[in-house]
């Protein structure tokens, strides 16, 4: 087989190692009280998939409603609740924890050569907070929902709606602390738990990008928390900070909200970028082109990410001078993303490329993220922002970044590390099909929305002028394809848990520390703490390693 790098052990004799983190202890309680980062990652994976499918069904309802210009499937306020819950669940319960809390949680300690995250109890607490928040959100949804949109814009959310704003706010508040604890744990682990020889510039780029995202989580989330506390107080006591009739400024809320929520989009995308770095390198058998540039561009995104929040408010009545400054800074933050894209592309140069599923998803990511990123510049430039903001253009833009970018990266990473997590391979052919279906479905769903937005169709409309119908039909049709694309992995990944081929330690011949141990790993990851004696992505080292192994065994 010359067109794949997959090396599997002889299936006739191979066995899943008897001792591993899954088999160590049995029983529900051993999971619920675990401190093992890998088990917590699995718990997270199950819970975020659950929320993803709730959010996804809500998205399906939205697309179904928009099939026709009238609001006929549901009443307008039902529609408002549906898109609000879709946004809240997808943003706070799926995208923010997606890669860091699952793949990151599983791999971060192994990548830096540690036995666990620095604070295992805090890690578990983070999952419990997430679950508490999630249950509160579900309760809210069942008991009537909320119709403020995920942005909780004041004074609408404080004085003009009658739905469950307080419980939703509380749910998001708690979920915020869950993500603070994850981020805090990562930062401490990366600083203090690296194994001997693991210098900063030997860290895999996945670690760098998660590090950058963690900084944003730790510093940004508390501001969202205080903004939500003020909303709750405004609704319960009536304090007036955001109430124009009492002299408050409703825009202040948006300042505080976007101070978190803009960096939050980097929280969502940065870990995805980390996944892509790993995958692209592994499947082209080459060190990432310009390792330092890619590493520092992550940090640059994190730092600049704090200076651009008001670009969500260009037409909202901030001072025009401030708009200029924020627009300029927005242009600066776009550059590191461009650097990354080109560096990944050039990683392929003179590589030895194979096209397994993770790589297909990564290609999808690169294309879609380029579009998503470029259209972000349309919105960051004050002039075009006037016309395009608050329309379907912006909806398409952030779905290209979040779904086209982040979700592709998530699926890429999930397939890539699936053998490590479960010890078994996913079925290759059908998963390649799923990747292609997802890509096609995605473009069909969201590309028409760019045109819709340019034509002026406002977002969050339950009904719309009939001339927009054609493009909406395309979009809805695409959404069904996309739905199939997302259902397939659930089916075959579940199937592979029992019937997948035994993967062995390192099916991809990848260089990360996590690939040098058994899969699924031991509870303590490494029998003894490894010593890092080579650079990251050193495929020649791996070659030598394999040769010497063969020599000693043979």
């Amino acid at each position: 087989m010359s067109d794949t790098i997959v090396v599997l052990p002889d299936q006739a004799t191979a066995r899943i190692p008897k001792m591993n983190f899954l088999s160590k202890e049995k029983g529900l309680l051993s999971w619920l009280l675990t401190g093992d980062h890998k088990r917590i990652a699995i718990l997270y994976l199950i819970s975020i998939s659950f929320f993803f499918f709730i959010g996804g069904s809500l998205a399906g309802l939205i697309r179904l409603e928009l099939l026709t210009p009238q609001s006929d499937l549901m009443a307008t306020d039902t529609y408002n609740k549906v898109f609000s819950m879709h946004g809240i669940i997808m943003v706070f319960f799926f995208l923010v924890p997606s890669v860091p809390a699952t793949i990151g949680n599983f791999l971060m300690p192994m990548m830096v050569g540690a036995k666990d995250l620095a604070l295992p109890k805090i890690n578990l607490l983070s999952w419990y907070l997430y679950m508490a928040a999630g249950i509160l959100a579900i309760y809210t949804m069942i008991s009537g929902g909320v119709d403020t949109g995920w942005t909780f814009t004041t004074p609408l959310s404080t004085h003009y709606v009658n739905t469950h704003v307080i419980t939703t706010g509380l749910a998001v508040f708690i979920a915020g602390f869950s993500s603070i604890f994850t981020g805090l744990n990562f930062i401490v682990t990366i600083h203090k738990m690296r194994c001997p020889g693991m210098t900063w510039f030997r860290l895999p780029l996945f670690v760098w990008s998660n590090y950058a995202a963690s900084i944003l989580m730790v510093l940004g989330t508390p501001v969202l928390a205080i903004a939500l506390v003020l909303i709750v107080l405004e609704r319960t006591v009536g304090i007036g900070v955001f109430d124009p009739t009492k002299g408050g400024d409703p825009l202040l809320f948006q300042h505080l909200f976007w101070f978190y929520s803009h960096p939050a989009v980097y929280i969502m995308i940065l870990p995805g970028m980390g996944v892509i770095s790993e995958v692209v390198s592994t499947f082209s058998r080459k060190r990432v082109f310009g390792y330092t540039a890619v590493a520092f561009s992550s940090v640059a995104i994190a730092v600049f990410g704090f200076f651009v929040w008001a670009h969500h408010m260009f037409i909202m009545g901030i001072s025009n001078y401030a708009a200029l400054v924020f627009s300029l800074l927005t242009m600066l933050v776009a550059v590191p993303s461009a650097i990354k894209i080109f560096n990944w592309a050039f990683t392929l140069y003179k590589g030895s490329i194979t096209f397994e599923t993770p790589m297909l998803y990564a290609f999808g990511f690169m294309g879609l993220f380029t579009i998503g990123g470029m259209t972000g510049v349309f919105l960051g430039s004050t002039g075009t922002d006037i016309h395009l903001t608050e329309t379907y253009f912006i909806v398409a833009h952030f779905h290209f970044v979040m779904v086209g970018g982040m979700l592709m990266a998530f699926l890429s990473g999930l397939h890539f590390w699936w053998p490590k997590m479960t010890g078994r391979m996913y079925p290759e052919k059908i998963s390649q099909l799923a990747a292609v279906v997802t890509f096609i479905g995605f473009n069909l769903t969201f590309f028409p929305q760019f045109i819709l937005g340019t034509l002026g169709m406002p977002r969050r409309y339950a009904s719309y002028p009939p001339e927009f119908q054609i493009l909406n039909v395309f979009s809805t049709a695409g959404a069904t394809v996309l739905g199939v694309g997302y259902l397939l992995p659930v089916l075959y990944l579940t199937w592979s848990l029992k019937y997948g081929a035994i993967a062995g330690n390192n099916p991809w011949q990848a260089t990360g520390l996590e690939w040098q141990v058994q899969s699924p790993p031991l509870t303590e990851n490494f029998p003894e703490i490894p010593i890092m004696d080579h650079e990251a992505y050193d495929y020649e080292w791996l070659e030598r390693q394999n040769v010497s192994e063969v020599a000693s065994v043979g």
Partner: protein
């Protein structure tokens, strides 16, 4: 996973091998100490940003409604504020001494300083309660019980009037004193909440300290709690001038 039932705080040790308080996934005790200490600092960062939102709001509205903020702040008694600042600073000192005693492995001294910190914390809350109570009496609790009487007609409030001789505020400005009081309650309330949490943990620590839990060389928990306590002190160091002092003169 054998320690999965141990107490949930980052650094509290579980009982087995090594130094008994070293967690299995750390290589050395120094690494554990380093890591938890750093984690505490990161947690304090989130706290800074949490209060950051309130400070921003305060600065904006003070700029907008300057006269209202000035006269409303005259309602606070600098005497109580100063006393509270002194109490809190002293409690910070006793806490620092507590950490020192733990490091020197002096058990009874540690307990003494922790108790002192505990008491000073309670004194702070007591004074705060007196102040809050006064606001309630004078109907200066925004949202729940509020009247602008003291500001549209300062003479009706002789105690404050004889000290400041405030001019009456026009009604539209006087209404904005409510924003000041809200921010006052939000900031000091959030601060007091942190104090209450701190005092609760202190109580727990006194209990454990008497059993000798922190004088066996494992001072991380006391040390990290000290960081938290000092941080709460720092917040107050800023709240005191912002709320009480800077508007004494217009």
């Amino acid at each position: 996973m054998s320690d999965s039932t141990a107490i949930a705080h980052g650094a509290v040790g579980a009982e087995h091998e090594h130094p008994s308080y070293q967690r299995h996934h750390f290589e050395t005790i120094a690494q554990q100490k380093d890591a938890t200490n750093f984690a505490m600092w990161l947690f304090l960062l989130t706290e800074i940003m949490f209060f950051g939102g309130l400070f921003t709001a305060y600065l904006i509205y003070r700029n907008w409604y300057y006269p209202a903020f000035v006269e409303a702040s005259h309602q606070l008694q600098i005497g109580w504020g100063t006393a509270n600042t002194a109490v809190l600073i002293t409690s910070s000192f006793t806490m620092a001494m507590g950490v020192w005693s733990a490091e020197m492995r002096k058990k009874s001294m540690l307990v003494f300083f922790l108790v002192l910190t505990f008491v000073l914390g309670l004194v702070f809350l007591g004074i705060k309660f007196v102040e809050y109570h006064e606001k309630w009496e004078k109907s200066h609790v925004p949202g729940l019980r509020y009247s602008v009487q003291s500001f549209v007609n300062p003479a009706s409030d002789p105690e404050v009037y004889k000290e400041y001789h405030d001019k009456p505020l026009p009604l539209d400005m006087a209404r904005h004193t409510e924003l000041y009081f809200f921010l006052y309650f939000a900031m000091t309330g959030m601060h007091a909440l942190h104090m209450i949490i701190g005092i609760a943990i202190l109580g727990f620590m006194i209990f454990r300290a008497r059993a000798g839990a922190y004088t066996n060389g494992h001072v991380t928990f006391v040390e990290n709690f000290g960081l938290y306590w000092h941080f709460v002190d720092i917040i107050w160091i800023y709240l005191f001038p912002l709320l009480y002092l800077i508007s004494r003169h217009q």
